[in-house]
Symmetry: D3
């Protein structure tokens, strides 16, 4: 399986049909950015077994909170975290943990983004 194929599979595992659609939306306007994201970001980076998918999810969320992601990236990765089995309690505690390292304002912003992502996810999966 080449990196491109592996990358799309990884997106599907992580973010499902919605993840695929959102990468397709990027691809339509910038095929090369989508290819770089799929092949490098997902196909190559995620390929190693040195970390579990769940560990990667915690690392990604901490990076996005710390860089002050305005919402799209955080929504996508909060949802992905729930899909792969990170619990609501773990995500809430990750946000708590980040207050000491990245300050409260970014964490409170993240909390409300998570609230919305969580409620949508629950709605769709009940």
């Amino acid at each position: 399986m080449d990196k491109n194929e592996a990358g799309w599979k990884q997106i599907e595992e992580l973010a499902g049909e919605r993840g695929i659609q959102s990468m397709k939306a990027a691809e339509e306007f910038s095929p090369r950015l989508a290819r770089l994201a799929v092949e490098f970001g997902y196909g190559d980076v995620y390929a190693s077994d040195a970390l579990t998918l769940k560990q990667r999810s915690l690392i990604t969320l901490s990076s996005l909170i710390t860089q002050g992601d305005p919402g799209t990236g955080l929504s996508y990765h909060f949802r992905a975290a729930l899909r792969i089995g990170v619990t609501k309690e773990e995500i809430l505690e990750l946000i708590n943990h980040c207050t000491a390292y990245a300050g409260f304002p970014k964490c409170i912003n993240a909390l409300f983004i998570f609230k919305e992502a969580y409620e949508t996810y629950e709605e769709e999966n009940k």
Copy 2:
């Protein structure tokens, strides 16, 4: 056990005698900052069981890499990670993972900080 006591115990578990010494150095110049760090940062934030110490370590390192920590914080937490059982392979892969989310320059800086922290740690524990 109150938060102050819990905080100092947490520092010892995470960072050992060296961690204690480094907080004492801060305390000498700013008792209040040290107290806030010990009671809130360690005594309160780390008290919840919703995340394991190892998960907290990955989250902390991702935040420090993303905010471009110049070295002191990263050294301290790389060392703490090794102490509590995060493996060299996991830390290296965490750095790899962050390249996609925070860019290469911060990750390459982190790599050389980790290299030094790792070698010192190995030297002291052989």
Copy 3:
């Protein structure tokens, strides 16, 4: 008065009924994050007399502008600043001052967030 009580009082002084409501909204989804914010952020940090409330307000706003807060945090703290007596002229000059240290784009974003916060505040208090 314990930290929890002191924290809620501090929020009320700083941000009034609206501040209380907004912390309650966070508390409903994440009681622990709200408790950490109330007890540490407000109850403990604000307790020292070494800085006046007005000085703290300037420091908070400068930090939020510099970290590129997307709006919620800035709105809340612009409003709090007006409540505790920081003048419109002082806030505008704080934004001017930050252009030299954090660059124009973050300051122009902050200006329009302040404009909206200021107009709402004036409307409600005339």
Copy 4:
């Protein structure tokens, strides 16, 4: 020609009537911030011939992407870039280039901001 006049001319060259209007909107609420932006930002910084306007545009966009501009600044400068002759292909590749230095999340956010700015610009200029 003094810096004030030079600054307004520079804004017009870079961003046209819309650029003028947006600076006037800032000026109405904060005359001093607008004057600092016009005289220093545009009148003085852009006055040197050591870089072409197109080179300045690439530098500005890279800085805005890297600092995670939430949209207003990026929209303004994407549009300015198109006006002064930076091609769609160059801008898309600038976004691709930044993935390696600032990470994917900021670049994907920038891509969708550019998509909207580009489509509006095309619509108005056909």
Copy 5:
């Protein structure tokens, strides 16, 4: 008095002979950057009376801590703060205050930079 003259005077008031020397060092390698810093940064921004010099000092320090300044900027402005009458206690509390907004790692880094700046300053002024 023109902006250039006003700027150099401002640097002297804020940072004394050492401040002048450090701007001269920049000027030798980049006369234009020094001129922009002197005329805009000091000559124009600091000229307004809407904030006191002491308020500006708090705002500057909060911005530098939040952006993770690696040391040169913070040393210079900690020293300037002491010169113009911000007390050691106020600076320590500013660092404490920033823990809630920018996280502990940046504040602990700032603490040790301040410790060194403070001790040098005391040594020279006893």
Copy 6:
């Protein structure tokens, strides 16, 4: 030519023997991080002709200044810029330009890093 080979060639063109040595130093400790940097960062990202190498250099430097790179990345890329024909005057003006977008402190830090990189480069190439 595959991406790995293309990447190493790109590093050589950009940063010469010293660039190769510095990537080899990273490779020794983390072969996978070096491979990701070489294949993605250099082999894939730099492969497109949509931007010239000189344009990429300006974009990279602006990103590094804006993210507050502590020195290693900036030194490497200032040197690379000089090698591929970006002039001293263009680099100085890029730093000037960034003052308006990222603030003075990061630009003054960058100036002194560039001064050292420039003097070393001149020394070696006379």
